[in-house]
Symmetry: C2
Subunit: 594 residues, 2 copies
C-alpha cells in the first residue's frame, strides 16, 4: 500500500525562504495581516485532511470506479460523498474565496498548497471540488449581481459543485465549430440543447446540486469562436429560497471507461432544452470561460505536481528498503544478503530526476500562485500588470512542462519498483495512469506549446518573455562576486541567451511560414521550461549555499540543484537542435504517403 | 474500435530489399531452398491468423482479464483457449522448430515476422505461446536425449506450454540470492520447494499441460549465481505414453492485478516438493536459463515493435479522419468545417516519430533474427562467431531501446487522439498500458544498459562493438561518390565517431570507479541505439534513393529517413552530455538526505 506524508518542510522552504510570502502578503491589503504561523498552521491542517481522509480513498476509488446506475444517475465510489461532506464542513472550499460570499479570503497561493496535497492524496476525488473553484472564479468575474447572489455562496460552501461544458463529439480543441444551441425563452433565460462530452464531475452523488457552465450558440451568432456564449445550467433550478428546486432538462447519458482517474465521473451530458442563464455578454462566452480555463490549466499543473510528489515519496521508501544486488563499489550492508537499491547509480538517477522535478515544479506553481494574488490585489497597477503578464506567460509552461515531466517522473517512480511497480497493489501504476490525462485535458500539451510561442511570446514581440528575462538578469547581477554561485549562474545565463536567440529565429521563420511555429512549438516550450527551472534552481541553490551549515535539508537542496544542472538541463542541447530543424522534414510527405 | 492490418509491404521491404534474405538463406544449408515466394506466402497466412483470429480478442481479453477460480485454477478470457487450439492446428508453434521433433524447420527470422504480427494483434495472448518457444530453445540446447524425447515434440506442437520460473518475492534482478530448494530424491529426480512470483502464463486453461523451467539450489550449492541449477517441473508428470499423468505438487497461489497485459495470467507459483528433472549440469542453471532469457529479451523487443506498429496504424487513421482546426497555412478542405489534423505540424511530429521508430525497430529485429539463423546454421565458423557476437551486442539494444521508444511511441499514438485516446473504447490506452511492462520484465532496462556497457562492450575491450563499427565503415566506404547519400552518411559517421570516443571515456573512468559505469549506462545504451538506427536508416535511405522513381513507397521511406536524421538522432546531443556528466552528482548525497 502506498504512503503519503505532506512535504511540509519543502513547502515551507518555497513559501517562506524562496518566495518570502510574509513580505509579499504585507503588500496586498486583503492579506496584510497574514503571518507565517497562520499559513503554516493552515498547511498542517490541510495536510492532515488530505493524508488522513482523502488519501485512504485513492486506491479503493480507483478499483471501484464510478457507476452509471441508469436513467442519468451516477454514483461516486464508496466514501467519496462522506469525505466531500467533511471537506465542506471543515471549510476547505471557501479557503481563498471572497468573504462577501462566505469565503475565508485567504490568498490563492494558500489554496495552491492545499491543492497540491489533495492531488497527491487523490487526483480523481480532488476533481469534484477542483472545477467548482473554476466555476466560482468565472461567475465572480462575469456573473450579474443576481447570479452571484444565487450561486456564489453555494459554490463557496461547496454545497453545490461546478463543471465546464465545452467539448462536443466533433470538437474539442477547435471550439469554433461547436454546435450546442441557446434559444431565448423570452423571460431573459435560454433553452440550451446539445451534447457535451468528457465532462468531468458532470453527474454524481457527491453534492446536492451541480452548476454547469456551458458554451452554446445564440440563433443569430456569427460562426467561429466569436459566436459562442456562456450559460449557467443548474442540474436543479434554484427555487425562491435558493434551494435546489425543479430538475432541469440536463441529463448524463453515460460515463467513460478510462485509463485512469477512474473515480471521477467523466460524463456525456445531454442538454434537451435545459433552462440556462447567460453569463457575461452575448457571443463573448470564450472570454468568461477563459477565466475558468486558465485556472484549470494551472490546476492541471498542480495535479501533476501532486502525483509526482507522492510517486517520489513511495519510490524513495522502496529504494531504501528493497535489498537487491551489491553496490558496484563493494558491499555496503555486509550483514545483509544484498544492498538497498538506493546504492545503485541508475536508481539514484531515477530518484533524483523525480526529486529535482518535483521541487522545481512546486517552486513554479507556488510562485505563479503568489503572482495571481499580486495580479488581483496589489495596489500598484504596474505590479498588477507585470504579475498578470508573467502568469499569462507561465500558464502554458505550468500546464505542459509540469505534466510532461510528471508523467516521466511517475514512470520513473514506477520503474524503481521493478515488477512490483506494474502490479496494482503497490499503487505506483495508478499514478502513471492518472498522470497521463494531464497531458491531454484543458488543452493538449501541443495546444499549450502553440499558446506559448504564438499568443504569449510572438504576439507581443516578446514583451512578456523580456519581463521574465529581466528577473533572470537581476538575479544574475545580484550574484556578482559570488564565486560559489558560478556553477549555477553560468548555465542559467547560457540558457537565457539561447532562449533569446531561438525565439528570434522562430519568429523570423514563422513570419514567412506559419508552419514553422507549429514545427518548433513543442521543443520550444520545453526549452523555456528549462529556463524557468534553471532560474528557480539557481535561486534555491543560493539559499542552500547560504545555509549549508544549518543542516541536511540545505545540503540535500544544494545536491539536487547540482543534479538538475548536471543531468537534466542538458536536455536543452537536443531540444534546441530539434526546434531549429524547421518544418521541412515534417511537412514534406503528402498525407497519402504516410 | 482499433484496427490492424499486417504491414506486409514494409515487412517485405526489410526482408527482401534490406536484408536480401533469399541470398542469405541460400548460404544456410537447412534453408538453402527457401525462396522469397514461400516466405511471403507464410507471412500472408500468418497475417490473416493474427489479424482475424487473435486481434479480435485483444480488447475483450483486456476487459475481462484472467480469473483465479480458486484452488489453483486459473481461466484465461473467453476465446483464448479456442484461438490457441487454432494456432496449434495451423502449426504456428512449430514454424522455426527442429524437424526432428515435429518442427517445420523454417528460419527464426520467419518466426520473428509471425511474432511481430501476433504482438500487434494481442501481446497478452501471444505470451502463452511466446514463452513456450523459449522453453523449447533451452531444452533443445541443454536437455538430455530422454528429456528432449518427452518434452520437445509437445512444446513444438503447442499441446504443452512453457514458463520461466526465476523471480522470488525477495529477488528479481539479483538471482544470486534466490532460495528455492531442490532436494535429490534418490531416483535421479528432485523435490523442488519454494515460491516463485511474476510467472507469466504460470497457470491457465489454454493448454493441457504446463512445463515450468525452474531455478533452484541443490543442498550443497555454493552461494550466488554459481549455485543455481535448472529443473523441468511439469504441471502434470508425463506418463509412460507421454501423456499428462499425475498432478505435480506445483500450484498457483494467486494471480496479479496489473496495469496491463490483463489477459495473461501472472502467477504466484508455489512448489511444495514438486518433482523436477535437472536440465544441464548442477550449479550451471544460469547458463541454460540464459538461452531462454536471451530469446525472451529479443521477444520483448518484438512485443514492443508489435505494439508500436498497431498504435501507429490507428493514430494515422485517426489523424486522417478527425477534422479539427485549420492548417496554419490556410484551410485545406474548404468545404468542410475544419481540416484533418494530419495537416498540423505537431501531429505530423507525433506520427513521423512513431513511423521512423517502428520501421527502424522492424529492420533491427529482423536483422537480429537473420543473424540468429546465421549463428546457428552457417557452415563457416567465422561467420557464426561474428553473427553470435553481433546478436549478443544487439540483444540489450533490442530489449531496452525498442521498448523505451515504443512506450514513447504508443504514448504519441494515444496523444494524437486527444481525450479519445484516454478512453478504453478506442483501444489506444491499452497499447500504452501493455507496452509499459516491456521496460521492466526480462531484466529492467537499467539491467540491459549495464549488460551492454559492462558485459557486451567493456568486457572484451570493445571487440563486439568494433565488429559493428566495421559494418558501418564498410557501408560508408561503399557510398563514396554518392553525393545524394551525404546527408545520411555524414551524421552516421559523426555518431559513430562519438560512440567510439564516449566508449573510451567511460571505460577509462569505470576502471577507476565502477559507479561511473552505472552512471553512464542508460544514456550510453540510447546513444548506441541511435548509432544502430542511423546505420539502418542510412541503408534504407540508400535503397529508397535508388528506387525513388518506382513509387510512393520509396518516397515515403526517404522522407521518413530524413525525419529520423533531422529530428530524432539529435537526441544524442543531450544523451552524450549526460553520459559524460559522471557519477558525482548522482552519488553525492547520502541516502538519508534524499
Amino acid at each position: 500500500m502506498p504512503q503519503y506524508t505532506p512535504p511540509v518542510r519543502d513547502m515551507q522552504f518555497v513559501l517562506h525562504e524562496l518566495l518570502d510570502v510574509g513580505a509579499a502578503f504585507s503588500q496586498l491589503p486583503p492579506h496584510a495581516d497574514l503571518d507565517a504561523d497562520t499559513v503554516n498552521s493552515i498547511i498542517e491542517e490541510a495536510g492532515k485532511f488530505a493524508s488522513q481522509v482523502i488519501f485512504p480513498l485513492n486506491q479503493s476509488g480507483d478499483e471501484e470506479g464510478c457507476t452509471y446506475v441508469g436513467d442519468g444517475v451516477v454514483k461516486a465510489p464508496k466514501g467519496y460523498r462522506e469525505a466531500y461532506q467533511q471537506y465542506c464542513e471543515q471549510g476547505w472550499p471557501a479557503l481563498s474565496c471572497d468573504p462577501e460570499f462566505g469565503g475565508q479570503g485567504l490568498p490563492e497561493l494558500v489554496n495552491n498548497v492545499l491543492q497540491e496535497m489533495l492531488n497527491s492524496a487523490n487526483q480523481a476525488w480532488t476533481m469534484y471540488p477542483g472545477l467548482t473553484h473554476g466555476a466560482y472564479s468565472s461567475l465572480h468575474a462575469y456573473g450579474t449581481p443576481e447570479q452571484k447572489k444565487v450561486y456564489l455562496s453555494k459554490l463557496v460552501s461547496g454545497e453545490w459543485t461546478g463543471t465546464m461544458c465545452l467539448t462536443e463529439p466533433h470538437c474539442g480543441t477547435d471550439l469554433g465549430i461547436l454546435r450546442s444551441k441557446a434559444e431565448p425563452r423570452g423571460d431573459g433565460s435560454y433553452s440550451i440543447s446539445g451534447t457535451k462530452i468528457f465532462i468531468s464531475s458532470g453527474e454524481h452523488d457527491v453534492s446536492e446540486n451541480i452548476i454547469h457552465l456551458v458554451l452554446a450558440r445564440l440563433p443569430d451568432a456569427p460562426a467561429g469562436t466569436k459566436g459562442i456564449s456562456l450559460f449557467i445550467v443548474p442540474k436543479f433550478l434554484p427555487d425562491a429560497a435558493g434551494k435546489p428546486g425543479a430538475r432541469n432538462a440536463v441529463k448524463c447519458g453515460s460515463i467513460e471507461h478510462k485509463m485512469g482517474i477512474h473515480s471521477n465521473a467523466t460524463c456525456v451530458m445531454n442538454f434537451d432544452g435545459a433552462q440556462g442563464f447567460m453569463v457575461g455578454e452575448p457571443n463573448r462566452g470564450m472570454q468568461a470561460m477563459f477565466v475558468m480555463m486558465n485556472g484549470a490549466r494551472l490546476g492541471v499543473g498542480m495535479q501533476s505536481l501532486g502525483l509526482a510528489e507522492v510517486a517520489y515519496q513511495n519510490s524513495l521508501a522502496y529504494a531504501k528498503d528493497r535489498l537487491q544486488s551489491r553496490s558496484l563499489t563493494g558491499a555496503k550492508l555486509k550483514d545483509k544478503p544484498a544492498d538497498p537499491i538506493i546504492v545503485h547509480p541508475d536508481v539514484r538517477r531515477m530518484l533524483l530526476s523525480q526529486k529535482a522535478h518535483v521541487e522545481a515544479a512546486r517552486a513554479l506553481c507556488y510562485w505563479v500562485g503568489l503572482m495571481i494574488d499580486q495580479e488581483h490585489k496589489h495596489p500598484d497597477e504596474a505590479v498588477r500588470k507585470d504579475a498578470g503578464d508573467l502568469v499569462a506567460l507561465l500558464t502554458p509552461i505550468v500546464k505542459a512542462f509540469i505534466t510532461d515531466n510528471s508523467f516521466e517522473s511517475t514512470n520513473l517512480g514506477m520503474q524503481v519498483f521493478g515488477g512490483h511497480g506494474y502490479v496494482r497493489e503497490w499503487g505506483m501504476e495508478q499514478y502513471v495512469r492518472d498522470a497521463r490525462i494531464n497531458l491531454i485535458y484543458e488543452g493538449t500539451n501541443t495546444i499549450q506549446s502553440l499558446d506559448l510561442i504564438g499568443r504569449k511570446v510572438l504576439q507581443d514581440g516578446g514583451a512578456k518573455l523580456k519581463k521574465f528575462g529581466k528577473l533572470v538578469q537581476d538575479f544574475v547581477v545580484a550574484q556578482a562576486g559570488r564565486e560559489d554561485m558560478k556553477e549555477f549562474v553560468e548555465p542559467l545565463m547560457d540558457i537565457g541567451d539561447k532562449v533569446v536567440k531561438l525565439t528570434g529565429e522562430i519568429g523570423m521563420k514563422a513570419a514567412q511560414n506559419p508552419d514553422e511555429m507549429g514545427a518548433a512549438a513543442v521543443p520550444y516550450l520545453r526549452v523555456v521550461g528549462h529556463l524557468v527551472y534553471s532560474y528557480l534552481w539557481a535561486r534555491m541553490a543560493r539559499l542552500a549555499l547560504d545555509k549549508q551549515g544549518e543542516g541536511d535539508f540545505y545540503k540535500a537542496k544544494l545536491a539536487t540543484a547540482r543534479y538538475y544542472f548536471a543531468r537534466m538541463l542538458p536536455e536543452t542541447a537536443s531540444l534546441i537542435r530539434v526546434a531549429r530543424a524547421g518544418s521541412g522534414s515534417l511537412m514534406a510527405m503528402d498525407a497519402a504517403l504516410f
